[in-house]
Amino acid sequence: MTASLRALALCLLLVPGSAWGLEVVDQTGRVLTLPSPPRRIVSLVPSVTEIVFAIGAQDALAGVTDFCDFPVEAKGKPSVGGMINPSLEALVTLRPDLVVATRSGNRAETFDQLKRLRLPVYLVDPISVEDVMRLVTALGDLTGHRDGAAVVTGDLERRMKMVEERVAGRRRPRTLYVLWPDPLIVPGRDALVSELIARAGGESVTADQGAGYPRMSLEAAVARAPEVIILASHGGGTPVGRDKWERLESLPAVKSKRLYTADGSVMHRYGPRVVEGIESLARLIHPEAFVK
Amino acid sequence: MTPLVRLDGVGFAYPKAAPGRSRFEIRDLSFAVAPGEVLGLIGPNAAGKTTVIHLLSKVLTPSRGEIFVEGEPLRSLGRAEVARRVAVVPQDVAQGFPYTVGELVLMGRFAHAPGRFFESAADARVAREAMRLTGVEALAGETLGRLSGGERQRVVLARALAQEPRLLVLDEPTAHMDLRYQAECVGLLRRLNREQGLGILLVSHDLNMAAELSDRLLLMSGGAAVTTGTPEEVLQESTLERVYGCRVVVDKHPATHRPTVNVAWPDR
């Protein structure tokens, strides 16, 4: 392997002016130079894993994390452990030529270790749905699956447009999204879910709260008199706390029985399924728009 | 001859007293211990006897006056220097960890070479000799917890002897001890005084033991010296009644002819 690399380097030296090495800019503005298009990618981000499978580039995926559970085939890829504490040894053994990580979910120490081990790291940092689209395109460019990426983005845009049309012009009900019941965690500024709610035709009562997914007191949430309450479920029987909300009979949402449960994993990942999230939210917020 | 230790107008007060208690003081105390002398320090509770010991070992610093050790001001001597000349045998043996008797006695050698990491062969010899003198050689491998009260006191005495001091200061050496131990202790101290020429400052509640062993007595009360002299001179009924506040009868010991103090028990 060293011999062929040396040969390649020699060839590149002999060809003046050729763009040797791939120059890539990741989502945080860092510039990476890769000697060749990555063929062995380790993804430390479940949403990135999803995207890679969606655009058809899964053969370039050499490793994933334990949390990369969608699509089902992703579980068949070798895992390097958790997002917070992936095993460096397992990672190195996979001989990756690129590691994809995120600033929100992976630790800075992991990033430092990877840099120390001289592994190229591609950082993603999506905040909005637009960012997700751009990420799909970027990953398509990176893996040489531009067409697959285009198909995915096209499909996603089409579906979003459809939702947009259906909820256009309708009054936006005050919507409370409960990410976690106790302590109460809600989507605030810059949270993906806030944008999803907006695109689904709702008005999130917590959109002015702190960045990301901050905590909020129950009182403050109740004081905003939400008309629609959506409780996120995280699978596997985690408590949703429905009865706690049903007891608050004075709330408009409870009175009109607009207390719903939604699948959280679809809403919180910056992957292709965010559009599914938009669709399911729209159906809950504006059921009248989807009656055939 | 330069006295082993001399207090010159020494005064001491604790910087902060407990609320409701008066500041304890030693007032204008002056006395000396000559080389090879046994001085007994007696007096009622809170007379200041233990404070004197702390002042001598530099645990406390006098507020007034000066203390001299072999002619040199105590102020100017380092702790190790003091420990080489004055050895204190405390009443209580505080201990947090299970050191053996041998290790404890060896600790007495610290002052002679504080910079050493391990003790020398000479240190070991001195320690062994000290243990032989006090009869605890056979217990060298034991921990204190397995010894009787008398044996423990002898271990502490051995440690003090290992310091090779010129003056031995004993704080209530026979407190809580049975008769046999008391007799052994007096015999041992007397031997050390006569054979080794060791000066002894003896603080005790036991007036009779102090009278037996001491060349001179110093009677203290309320932080000041009341009187000093031979046991016969000091142990007078009137003096004792005044200081202790109870009736006593002073007799002569049938064998040694030293004065013995007997309490006149009340309400008979």
Binding site: V80, G81, M83, I84, N85, P86, S87, L88, E89, A90, V92, T93, R95, R103, S104, R107, A108, E109, D112, Q113, K115, R116, L117, L179, I185, G210, A211, G212, Y213 | P15, H54, K58, V59, G78, R79, V82, A83, R84, V88, P90, A94, Q95, G96, F97, P98, Y99, T100, M107, F110, A111, P114, R116, F117, F118, E119, S120, A121, A124, T143, G145
Partner: protein, 339 residues
């Protein structure tokens, strides 16, 4: 002198055990590395294939070094503090220093530090700052005009520790959920390979702390007689206490800064070793330096192999495995524990 001979024997024995455990640790892990490759690498014989070289030199070896250093530092700090407070159940974290250092690191992490190598050192600086603030606070609270009374020192340490733990809890409740996992992970105490430069600084600081504590080991023995008792034997007890306190705090702060808060080692290792080699600090402290390394290294090796490729926090192992072992030692050699 039996003292010297005992020290040599104990150190030689423990060094051997440490070497064996280190070798074993080098051989196991999530990645499959042939023992032959390790031998080749150590001998300087090449070529060793890229991955194996990276795993051995880049991941395992630095981590082993970090574990040995951190374990030794914590154990020596524990031994020093136990001698200082005359309490065999004292722990370096009782000083409040590890809580202060942890607060510093959490604060740094939350304000976004730690994104690059330079910032990694900044993280360390925050930890030291936290350790210093906590240590000085404890000292200032406990010190009176007449010195450093031990019971006040313990109390002040506990209170300062509680304060900083509460402060950490406040920070945790404010941090956004994305970063929460990382912060909690760090708080549980995890070992990771440290870059060579940082490892060098860590080793140097540990050596300084060890010198501070070990240099006065003989006088430290005398402290068992009580401060007055030690002073009567010629020890300057106040200076000694300050020095041991500084050494212990330095060692604890260094571990938290470079590795993270790991509990229990400073309590169990010196105590267990005291049962085996006796209370003489001149033997106990060097033994703790080596024995602590053995203990933490073994615990960390377990932590990273038991559920591979996932890893347990080493703090979990030290507690779960340390406690029963400690109980066994306590019951079988009860005589030598308390006087």
């Amino acid at each position: 002198m039996t003292g010297r001979r005992k020290l040599l024997a104990v150190c030689a024995g423990l060094a051997l055990v440490l070497g064996l455990v280190a070798l074993l640790s080098l051989l196991v892990g999530s990645a499959r590395v042939a023992p032959g490759a390790i031998v080749d690498l150590v001998m300087g014989r090449g070529p060793v294939e890229g991955t194996e070289r990276v795993v051995i030199l880049g991941i395992r070896l630095p981590r082993i070094a970090a574990a040995a250093l951190a374990g030794g530092a914590l154990a020596v700090a524990g031994a020093g503090f136990q001698a200082l407070t005359r309490n065999p159940l004292a722990e370096p974290s009782v000083l409040g220093v590890s809580a202060g250092a942890a607060f510093g690191v959490v604060l740094a992490q939350i304000s976004g530090l730690g994104q690059g190598v330079v910032e990694a050192l900044g993280l360390t600086a925050f930890a030291f700052a936290g350790a210093l603030v906590a240590g000085v606070s404890v000292y200032v609270i406990a010190a009176t005009g007449r010195g450093l009374p031990v019971h006040t020192l313990l109390l002040a340490g506990v209170i300062v520790g509680i304060f900083f733990s509460a402060a950490i809890t406040v920070l945790i409740s404010l941090v956004d959920t994305n970063r929460l996992g990382g912060v909690i992970h760090w708080l549980l105490g995890n070992l990771a390979p440290i870059p060579a430069g940082a490892l060098g600084v860590f080793a140097a600081v540990t050596a300084l702390g060890l010198w501070l504590v070990l240099g006065k080991a003989r006088a430290l023995n005398l402290l068992a007689l009580g401060e007055e008792g030690a002073q009567e034997l010629g020890v300057d007890a106040e200076r000694l206490k300050r020095r041991i306190f500084a050494g212990s705090a330095l060692l604890t702060g260094a571990v938290v800064a470079f590795v993270g808060p790991i509990g229990f080692v400073g309590l169990i290792v010196p105590h267990a070793l005291r049962m085996l080699v006796g209370p003489d600090n001149r033997v106990l402290i060097p033994a703790a330096a080596l024995g602590g390394g053995v203990f933490l290294l073994a615990a960390d090796t377990l932590a990273r192999t038991v559920v591979a490729p996932a890893e347990l926090s080493v703090g979990v192992i030290t507690s779960f495995c340390g406690a029963p072992f400690f109980i066994y030692l306590l019951r079988s050699r009860a005589g030598r524990v308390m006087p």
